[in-house]
């Protein structure tokens, strides 16, 4: 084994890179969650008529603009030069996922708010319409939205998918971080987002029919997520020395325990089992499994953010 010394000791990179922390993990988690909510809401909107929808479900989409704002706030906190944040919006840099992300985030607001408004139960809407009646544009917008509700639903699905994938691609394009550097990360984060989205909804007072439906959907998401995890690992295992070295962080490396217990066992297998049992016995999904899913979803981002920085090309080469 070679003996290596370096005089470099730059905070944030040495001895182990630590540029991104909880804020970013939380942002990625909330981004995925919002993506999930938007897609599911969009699908619901394209699906059955409003009459069959529970009040909770009809209000659900409002969570999107709120949660994304929370997420962006945390992202903003992570910036070393927050007052230069406006710089994100003076350019669109095709090669930079983060640049795309910044613009996608902007898209989320109009799209989700409009649809959320259309989905909102009539009594609430009536109340606000007459309160805001002093500005005619408001009615105009409402009518426009109601006329284009299908388009809006599709837009939400599209924006949601874009958002979900972007949260993964943000990390996935970093060639310097073999653990992140995988095409699977985009889909993986999207599916995980959908799963957390569904779980989030299950926390509210939905109709049994809706719960059962989401439960089944979520099982699908979890299975897909497991498949993508497998793909991701296989990709690394069959990759170069660096990739294999990176994979080691989950097999004996410092993140082994956390990953297998929090993400795989607690966050995926347990809820899958739970949902499956509920399904077999025809019982209505409760709130335990969704909570596990949410924990797992957050753990996935948290662990990935740190493990990815730990397993840089150079670092792996040195170990």
């Amino acid at each position: 084994m070679n003996e290596i010394t370096t005089t470099r000791a730059n905070h944030l990179i040495d001895p182990v890179m630590g540029v991104w922390h909880g804020e970013v993990a939380l942002y990625l988690f909330l981004g995925g969650l919002v993506a999930g909510i938007m897609v599911l809401a969009g699908l619901a909107m394209l699906g059955k008529p409003a009459t069959e929808r529970s009040r909770a479900a009809s209000l659900m989409l409002w969570a999107a603009p709120v949660l994304i704002s929370v997420g962006m706030f945390f992202l903003w906190l992570d910036l070393e030069h927050p007052f230069n944040a406006y710089r994100f919006y003076l350019v669109l840099r095709a090669s930079s996922p983060m640049s795309w992300g910044a613009w996608i985030l902007l898209l989320i607001y109009p799209v989700s708010i409009l649809l959320a408004w259309v989905m909102t139960p009539d009594d609430v809407r009536a109340h606000w319409r007459q309160r805001l009646s002093f500005m005619p544009q408001f009615d105009a917008i409402t009518e426009w939205a109601e006329r284009n509700v299908r388009a809006l639903a599709i837009l939400n699905i599209v924006a949601g998918v874009a958002l979900g994938i972007y949260t993964g691609v943000l990390l996935g394009t970093m060639a310097a971080r073999p653990l992140w550097n995988s095409a699977v990360l985009g889909p993986l984060f999207l599916v995980s987002g959908l799963s957390t989205g569904a779980a989030f909804m299950l926390l509210y007072r939905l109709k049994d029919a809706e719960r059962v439906q989401l439960g089944v959907l979520d099982m699908g998401f979890i299975v897909a997520e497991l498949a993508l995890l497998a793909l991701w690992f296989i990709g690394m295992a069959s990759g170069g020395a660096a990739a294999r070295g990176a994979l080691a962080v989950f097999f004996g490396g410092p993140y082994t325990a956390a990953f297998w217990t929090l993400v795989v066992a607690l966050g995926l297998l347990a809820p899958l089992a739970g949902e499956w049992i509920e399904h077999r016995h025809g019982t209505v999904p409760g709130r335990v499994t969704p909570i596990l899913v949410l924990i797992g979803g957050f753990a996935l981002r948290w662990i990935l953010v740190y493990a990815g920085q730990y397993a840089g090309l150079a670092e792996v080469a040195m170990r």
Binding site: T5, T7, R8, V19, L79, M98, M174, A175, Q309, A314
Partner: protein
């Protein structure tokens, strides 16, 4: 690529790892306390008493395909004169994507500015009539060479033509402009 293509060459045969280049850079460029744009790396191979050791001075490689630039969402990182990789701190949001994207750990946040700092190849010198970078100027063993790759008569071109050399982590695919003579 046409025009000037700046590149740096470090002779690992003569580099003794004294770090004069580090101190010389820090004072020339006012690098923040306890941060450095260049550093000394040593690697010892073999077992006693059959040993070999590589000693070299490292810094930003001013990559031709610089991931730090492609990930930058604000355009703060850009290709500057002679194909060097530069940062406009006024544009930098401190999102740190470029730090994560750099395989070489060449970038850091200047705590006094909250923006990225890294080796500039001393463009303030080489673009303004001083032919040397500061680390090159001070090096007591004169192990650092700097010049234009597009000029076949430049010292760097001639050295690379006649001596065995390598770049760091070619597998990262960044096409470094910083070469090491064996």
């Amino acid at each position: 690529m046409s025009g000037v293509r700046y590149a740096m060459v470090v002779d690992t045969r003569t580099c003794v790892g004294c770090a004069a280049c580090v101190i010389g850079c820090k004072t020339e460029n006012g690098v923040a306390d306890s941060y450095a744009r260049d550093w000394v790396y040593t690697e010892t191979a073999g077992t006693f008493p059959n040993l070999s050791m590589t000693v070299r001075s490292e810094r930003c490689n001013h990559c031709e395909d610089a991931p730090c630039i492609s990930v930058c969402p604000t355009g703060a990182s850009y290709y500057g004169p002679g194909g060097t990789v530069q940062v406009n701190q006024a544009k930098c949001s401190g999102c740190k994507a470029c730090i994560a994207a750099c395989p070489y750990g060449a970038r850091f946040i200047d705590p006094n500015v909250g923006a990225i700092d890294k080796c500039t190849f001393c463009v303030h010198r080489v673009e303004n009539g001083t032919p040397t970078t500061s680390c090159q100027e001070i090096c007591p063993t004169q192990s650092i060479y700097f010049g234009d790759l597009n000029d076949p008569d430049s010292e760097v071109s001639r050295l690379l033509a006649k001596r065995e050399h390598y770049v760091l982590m070619p597998e990262a695919g960044t096409k470094p402009r910083h070469f090491y003579l064996k």
